[in-house]
């Protein structure tokens, strides 16, 4: 039932006003991309606290791409707060010896087909190269997939 777990899973947080319709536009163009990508529609990614990202890695998600509206964010101050949060997550990832490239922040618009495909393919190549995420704190007790 499950996917080929060897290649790992990529979580994509896509904003409902920009990146999520952008992903649909890729679908309308019938452009193929790796299947191990799971797109969650979000209002603004600023909702997610630092631990959400770390929990995802802990649960076994190999890569996360946050596709936001960038500076066109409809919520006041949210984009900057979010950029700061991602910096914090990078700090936590460093502590856990996680490759920082596993978390990627990018702006995708409603018709950004090519940038979307590039981001997804880049991340897929990366997690293939890196393998599953192993957090330093858990290394000793790693008996889960």
């Amino acid at each position: 039932m499950a996917n080929d777990t060897q290649e790992g899973k990529i979580l994509i947080l896509a904003t409902e006003s920009c990146a999520y319709p952008g992903a649909n536009s890729v679908g309308q163009a019938h452009s193929s991309y790796p299947t191990n990508t799971y797109i969650l529609r979000v209002r603004a990614p600023v909702l997610f606290p630092e631990h959400f990202y770390m929990d995802c890695f802990r649960k076994g998600i190999s890569g996360i791409i946050v596709m936001s509206c960038g500076e066109e964010c409809p919520y006041e101050g949210a984009y900057h707060a979010f950029a700061k949060r991602i910096d914090n997550v990078f700090q936590l990832m460093k502590k856990e010896d996680l490759d920082l490239r596993r978390l990627r922040l990018t702006a995708i618009c409603t018709v950004c087909n090519r940038p979307f495909l590039k981001e997804v393919n880049d991340m897929n190549n990366l997690i293939k190269e890196l393998g599953p995420p192993i957090l330093k704190g858990e290394e000793a007790a790693t008996d889960t997939p």
């Binding site: 890729v26 019938h30 193929s32 299947t35 969650l40 209002r43 997610f48 606290p49």
Partner: protein, 624 residues
């Protein structure tokens, strides 16, 4: 993962899953029967169906039947993109008397069958549906938030834009408090004579509006008034209006000019005088649903010595020139001003507009006007033509950077000016015209490097220099601070988005009309004012404002009252209750979720889009 979830009614979540073939669009690549089979045993799922077209009436009836039979209380549809049919399915659920927010959509067409093929596409569909199920189980019924809205607006500013907005709102049946700082209505427009491109008297335009204001019982005019208090939110603001006797010298002088005149009359270069100047301070607090800003602009005042201004009485602004022309005899061979014949006039464009860092001088606050003031080119040519038409013995020299006669019927002013022998010189900002005193035939000399004649330096003696000064944002700092209004780098009030929401500020229920937003001419100001009035009418027409239910909600059992969310909220939507729990004002919350991330005890979440639901979805994605 498998603990029983209950909704507020205490009922266990019973999910119905409906998977669409989309006539092959999905089922050609995704084995939909296999998906239905795979998800039917996920905890909470009670039915799992497929249908050729879920969006068709029979497809929708399938869902409604299961609801009516009492089988299900959550719905997951797996089909095309939610932007196409989310509202369709929410509607179908509503019609079966179930809360439409107990619904989740899985996008297995645009984000699966159209981009993936074969077994991996089917596997992904299973995962996406499983994730949707895990979210659906945690959903709670939501109701749109209703806020009572007063059928009342406060319009700040009694210039053309404010008058226009007030008249339209009143005609719509909405009460208006029109608040004007000075004793006069008409604003900056009162300082004009005739308007381009129609040549109408500005007095007629202002009186058209003021007579409508006077006649309409829905409008209360507060002159000599300012907003001194403000609180509340869209639909239900409380504003305090304070009237006091005018004290500043300029206003006293203008009042002197209208002394003895009947109230309700227009006075050229002063304004429309409704009468009624308060002798003592008065204060009133009103409940108002929407506030319209129509505070207008200020004219740029040239610096001492800028193009000789302030140093030579022969250097004046365009506004002063319009005033002087109005007092001059209607037609003579040569224009005379203050008894002096004016044989030749230099008109200089872009004074205090289009300033460039490094070339122009910044003001004492290190600020300069980098924008175009939009109206001065045509206004300058209009004045130039009036001179050429009425005083053929007076020559015009026009010094410009670009002639921006962009508006409807305005290009004619440019072509007619050439026909009427207005002489044009084009300058670059780094080679601006230089004005010097002379003792020769003319009192002043203008020197410029003319780009139209291959950078030749051209000198000309003139009797008068007219500076086409631009528009500046008016200083309304006290209002900006009191109401926390967004201001752009150009110091004008800032709209949410120039195309998506051009007459709204980020503060809900506070609208923009006219030149407080950016330079505009009179018809553009009127359009903006009417657009703002339309927005206000839409907001207030129903008697209540309905807001998205996707707002933050505090879980009082978890909240420890540390106030982190309050500090994070950009909308000031969260406050502390007396028993030290955070509380969200849903009327102010935009549902951005900034508070959710900073709460260390998960005590606040966005309804319908909660962190908890996302965590559940990630669990499902990892598991399936």
């Amino acid at each position: 993962m498998s603990e029983t979830k209950k909704d507020e009614s205490g009922e266990e979540a019973r999910v119905g899953v409906y998977i669409c073939h989309c006539g092959g669009n999905i089922s050609d690549h995704v084995d939909v029967e296999k998906v239905a089979e795979a998800v039917k045993d996920i905890p909470g799922v009670v039915v799992s169906h497929t249908d050729m077209f879920m969006c068709s009436d029979p497809g929708q009836e399938l869902i409604q039947e299961d609801i009516n039979k009492g089988n299900i209380n959550r719905v997951v549809v797996a089909s095309c993109a939610p932007s196409l049919h989310e509202t369709t399915f929410r509607g179908a659920i509503s019609r079966a008397n179930m809360n439409p927010y107990l619904y989740e959509h899985a996008n297995i067409r645009e984000q699966d069958s159209w981009v993936h093929h074969g077994d991996p596409a089917t596997a992904k569909a299973i995962t996406l549906v499983a994730a949707a199920i895990s979210k659906a189980r945690g959903l709670k019924p939501l109701e749109p938030i209703r806020v009572d809205a007063a059928s009342h607006t406060t319009v700040i500013g009694g210039g053309i834009a404010g008058l226009r907005a007030a008249v339209d709102l009143a005609r719509n049946g909405i009460k208006v408090a029109l608040v004007e700082k000075s004793p006069f209505l008409g604003g900056n427009a009162s300082q004009l004579d005739r308007v381009f491109p129609t040549g109408e008297k500005v007095a007629d335009l202002i009186e058209y509006l003021t007579s409508a204001v006077a006649k309409d019982p829905n409008i209360t005019v507060y002159t000599c008034a300012e907003l001194t208090g403000f609180e509340g939110y869209i639909g239900n603001f409380k504003v305090t209006i304070k009237r006091k006797a005018p004290e500043d010298e300029a206003t006293q002088l203008m009042l002197k000019q209208v002394k003895g005149a009947a109230p309700g009359s227009f006075h050229p270069f002063v304004g429309f005088y409704p009468g009624d100047v308060p002798a003592a301070d008065e204060e009133e607090t009103l409940t108002t649903g929407v506030i319209v800003f129509a505070t207008g602009f200020e004219l740029y005042e040239p610096r001492q010595g800028e193009f000789g201004y302030g140093e030579n009485r022969e250097v004046i602004t365009l506004r002063q020139f319009i005033r002087a022309m109005a007092d001059a005899p209607a037609t003579t061979e040569t224009l005379t001003i203050d008894g002096r014949p004016v044989r030749r006039i230099a008109m200089i464009h872009c004074v205090g507009s289009r300033q460039i860092p490094g070339i122009h001088e910044a003001d004492e606050n290190d600020y300069m006007n980098e924008y175009c003031s939009r109206t001065c080119c045509t206004a300058t040519l209009q004045a130039a033509l009036e001179v050429r038409d009425n005083y053929p013995g007076t020559q015009i020299l026009d010094y410009y950077r670009d002639i921006r006669t962009y508006g409807h019927n305005q290009e004619e002013y440019y072509s007619r000016a050439s026909e009427k022998n207005v002489l044009f010189f084009r300058y670059e900002p780094e080679d601006s015209p230089v004005i010097t005193k002379t003792t020769g035939e003319y009192p002043l000399k203008v020197t410029v490097v003319d780009k139209l004649t291959f950078n030749e330096e051209v000198e000309a003696g003139v009797d008068l220099v007219v500076l086409a000064t631009g528009m500046k944002a008016k200083n309304i700092d006290s209002l900006v601070e009191m109401m926390k209004l967004p201001v752009g780098a150009d110091k004008f009030l800032q709209e949410v988005h120039p195309k998506l929401r051009p007459v709204e500020m980020a503060n809900g229920g506070i609208l923009l009309a006219g030149t407080c937003q950016a330079p505009m001419d009179i018809n553009e100001s009127c359009n903006a004012a009417q657009a703002a009035a339309a927005k206000a009418a839409a907001l207030l027409g129903k008697g209540f404002v309905e807001l998205d239910p996707f707002v933050a909600l505090v879980d009082p059992d978890r909240c420890e009252g540390n106030g982190d969310c309050i500090a994070e909220c950009p909308e000031n939507a969260i406050s502390m209750t007396p028993d030290n729990k955070a509380e969200v004002n849903p009327a102010l919350c935009t549902g951005c979720g900034m508070c959710v991330a900073v709460c260390s005890v998960n005590g606040i979440d966005v309804q319908g889009w909660g962190l908890k639901e996302y965590e559940n979805m990630v669990d499902a994605i990892v598991k399936f």
